[in-house]
């Protein structure tokens, strides 16, 4: 038996990826997975909700920061992570490391993902919650959609929540 969203031969045909976090480590994995899906010929949609909206916010998407507080994986004392400027420095360092691996900055990455044919969507409930409008988002965002419409788009595929 094959699972939902998989073809009879066991391959994944379509993914819908939900981005709910607005930190660097919250956004990049979703973008890498969406881009990687398209590279494999898999249909992909990205749905930005809650703080994930920052990733497609015109004024904010260039300033997505690494969480240096409450992030045990960073192996940095919480008090040190909270010092002014630490998040910026760590983000800058991470951007440098990623640049070496040819991982693009978030604005360029989003543009590239839209060019691959993946759909970028904003969550209506979150847009209303934060008092945003369509004009706040980058041009690559196709639409502001409801949860119901998201499920319609995701139908027949796999859903990944990040």
């Amino acid at each position: 038996m094959t699972g939902e969203g998989t073809a009879a031969n066991g391959t994944i045909e379509k993914v819908s990826i939900i981005v709910s976090k607005g930190s660097l480590e919250g956004v990049y994995p979703a973008l890498i997975m969406a881009n990687g899906a398209r590279a494999e010929g898999i249909e992909a949609n990205l749905f930005f909700t809650f703080f994930g909206l920052d990733a497609i916010h015109k004024a904010r998407h260039e300033h997505i920061k690494l969480a240096t507080v409450g992030n045990p994986g960073l192996h940095l004392a919480t008090w040190a992570g909270g010092l002014p400027g630490v998040s910026s420095v760590m983000t800058h360092y991470m951007a440098h490391k990623m640049g070496e691996l040819d991982i693009p900055p978030i604005p360029e990455f989003l543009e590239m993902i839209a060019d691959t044919g993946a759909g970028l969507y904003a969550c209506k409930a979150s847009v209303d919650l934060f008092g945003l409008t369509e004009d706040d988002f980058i041009d690559q965002v196709k639409d502001i959609i409801t949860v119901g419409e998201f499920y319609g788009l995701a139908a027949g595929g796999q859903i990944i929540f990040t």
Binding site: I32, N35, G36, R38, A39, E40, G41, L101, D102, I103, P104, M112, D115, T116, G117
Partner: protein
């Protein structure tokens, strides 16, 4: 290990259809591999990308990922996906008879 016949020659390929030995590839084989991958006709633009893949492989020992392919070949990401809808780097590598590129970006 599956064997395919392209342009009258037996070719060893892996489970995904990529050539085991890129040396076995000849230009006459490309159109048949492309048809199997869902591309009916190879246009001059397709060829530009396929030849570029071979060139990169000869140069670096591995094919480029989509981003690197676009950056170095000058063909935009949009155009690459129009040419190879089921994955530009993957399909162009298959048609060019080189191993599947392993980059994540």
């Amino acid at each position: 290990m599956p064997v395919k016949v392209y342009a009258g020659t037996d070719v060893m390929v892996n489970d995904e259809g990529f050539f085991d030995d890129p040396q076995q590839w000849r230009e006459e084989m490309a159109s048949q591999i492309a048809r199997e991958a869902g591309i009916e006709t190879l246009t001059s633009q397709h060829w530009q990308v396929v030849k570029f893949m071979r060139h990169e492989y000869a140069d670096k020992g591995t094919g480029p990922s989509v981003r690197a392919l676009s950056k170095t070949s000058g063909v935009s990401i949009k155009e690459l996906y129009q040419l190879f809808p089921k994955g530009p780097a993957k399909l162009a590598a298959k048609i060019a008879g080189i191993p599947k590129p392993r980059g994540c970006i």
